[in-house]
Amino acid sequence: MLIFPLKPQQASTFSVAWDHLFYFLTAITVFFSALIFAAIFIFAIKYRRRSKDEIPRQIEGNLKLELIWTIIPALLCVVMFVWASRLFIENSIPPAASTEVFVVAKQWMWKVQHPEGPREINDLHVPVGVPIKLTMTSEDVIHDFAVPAFRIKRDVVPGMYSTEWFEATSTGRFHLFCDQYCGMGHSHMVGWIDVMPQDEYARWLTSQMQAEPMAAAGQKLFNQLGCDSCHAQTGPKGPSLRGIVGQTIRMQNGQTRLVDDAFLREAIIDPQPIAGYPNVMPTFQGQVSEDQILQLIAYIKSLGGPPERKGTKP
């Protein structure tokens, strides 16, 4: 029995695919290292210097050999590139049916909000067998949300939303690490992912239900901040936000923008004039925290998406 593990836990759909790639790369590494080591050993012993004045036969080189050891590694590299890139793209695009969870990082803690309302710190409860999409941002420096057992990792960058997703395949408690150096408390910015059976997770959610859902909190904030005075319905000062998510709108400077999470965040913090409306919206930078912005976005999204005709897929 080894005193240390040789293999990390394998607890997500991606970790299986990832491990296959890893084994392939390891096999190549072991093969070529063994080849070079063996060659060095054999040559060093077989062709050792036998007399002080020995001058060996000179060989210039060999074009055929050069081509062989250029082309074979090149082909292997193509295989690795294609395999790894496909897997990366798969890992970058969350399934449309994922459950969304919001993460705000700050020095040195992870703040998690579930759309249903529960909030956690340095802990994330998720159901097994359900794809979870994390929408993440940071309040200060760059952090990184890494879960070795799921083989996932993504930088959490201030000023933008980054996403990653996973589908847990086994229940249990798994390490959550901050992998991007973030200052003094970097190594204390750790937490746990609790993967629960689906029914247990449902019970956990209800037990946490004293918290209000994000959209409801967002609506309260929306009214508190006075957003409703211009945006409750389309008026002279601003458009109604009902169904605005997913629309493409035209800005005063002629650009068109897709209304998504990133755009909504920018519109709250650093509003730019939209075509057809006066440039009167003030910035809310400093008045709302990153958590609250996410609540506002959740509320705006709860107002519905674009009209049906936009969706082209049946």
Binding site: Q252, D270, N279, T283
Partner: protein
């Protein structure tokens, strides 16, 4: 020891004055390649933000005065001409024109730096257009920014690039003025006119390079965004 036309002027690691001159001028060109990448980091950042915030950068350029930029350009082009003529005089071994052209170049360069600091930058400071020191555009400046619908922080970003890019350029000008002063003193003592003109040539290359940087800074900072 190799036979050279003026052995005392050839450093001991070289065979002759021609190898020495070749090495010196090649070294200078490599140094300029380094300089291209040094300014390149700034140009790349500028390009990125300009493509992200076109309105703010257009607004920012309206806060600068074209008259300054254009007259600097003319001054630098004139100084490049006088510098080229100075190198030519040194090649031909003419001491008096050499000193004359060097002094002209020096005057134009010094005028550039002085006008930039005393009038343009100081003016920007009075108008509160210096991010990190005092950035609070008022009056006409604020109106321009409003007209472009540009957020203040992005305009500040433009102004940062304006100050950093022209500042580092001006620093290069100051170094150039120092080098010219040195050249004038040496030329006065009779150097550079007996085949050993490569020092003048190298300073010339540097001077022209600094001119080229300005040739790009002028449109990128003062003209872009349209004056119409």
């Amino acid at each position: 020891m190799p036979e050279g036309p003026a052995p005392a002027l050839v450093a001991e690691q070289f065979d002759d004055i021609i190898q020495q001159r070749d090495a010196a001028s090649f070294g200078m060109w490599i140094f300029l390649a380094t300089e291209i990448l040094f300014f390149g980091g700034l140009f790349a950042s500028y390009a990125l933000y300009r493509s992200l915030y076109p309105a703010a950068f257009a607004a920012g350029s309206h806060l600068l005065k074209v008259a300054y930029g254009a007259s600097y350009t003319v001054m630098l082009i004139c100084s490049s001409l006088t510098m080229a003529m100075a190198v030519r005089s040194a090649q031909l071994g003419r001491r008096k024109p050499l000193i004359g052209f060097l002094v002209l170049t020096l005057l134009l360069g010094a005028a550039f730096v002085i006008i930039k600091l005393r009038w343009e930058w100081y003016g920007d400071y009075l108008e509160h257009l210096v991010p990190g020191v005092s950035f609070a555009p008022q009056g006409e400046a604020l109106e321009v920014i409003r007209r472009f619908g540009a957020p203040l922080s992005h305009v500040a970003l433009f102004m940062i690039f304006y100050f950093v890019m022209t500042g580092i350029h001006a620093l290069h000008m100051v170094v150039g003025v120092g080098l010219l002063t040195f050249l004038i003193i040496m030329a006065y003592r009779g150097r550079f006119v007996s085949g050993d003109f490569n020092t003048v040539e190298m300073v010339g290359l540097y001077w022209h390079f600094v001119d080229i940087v300005w040739i790009f800074l002028f449109p990128l900072l003062y003209l872009i965004g349209g004056r119409y």
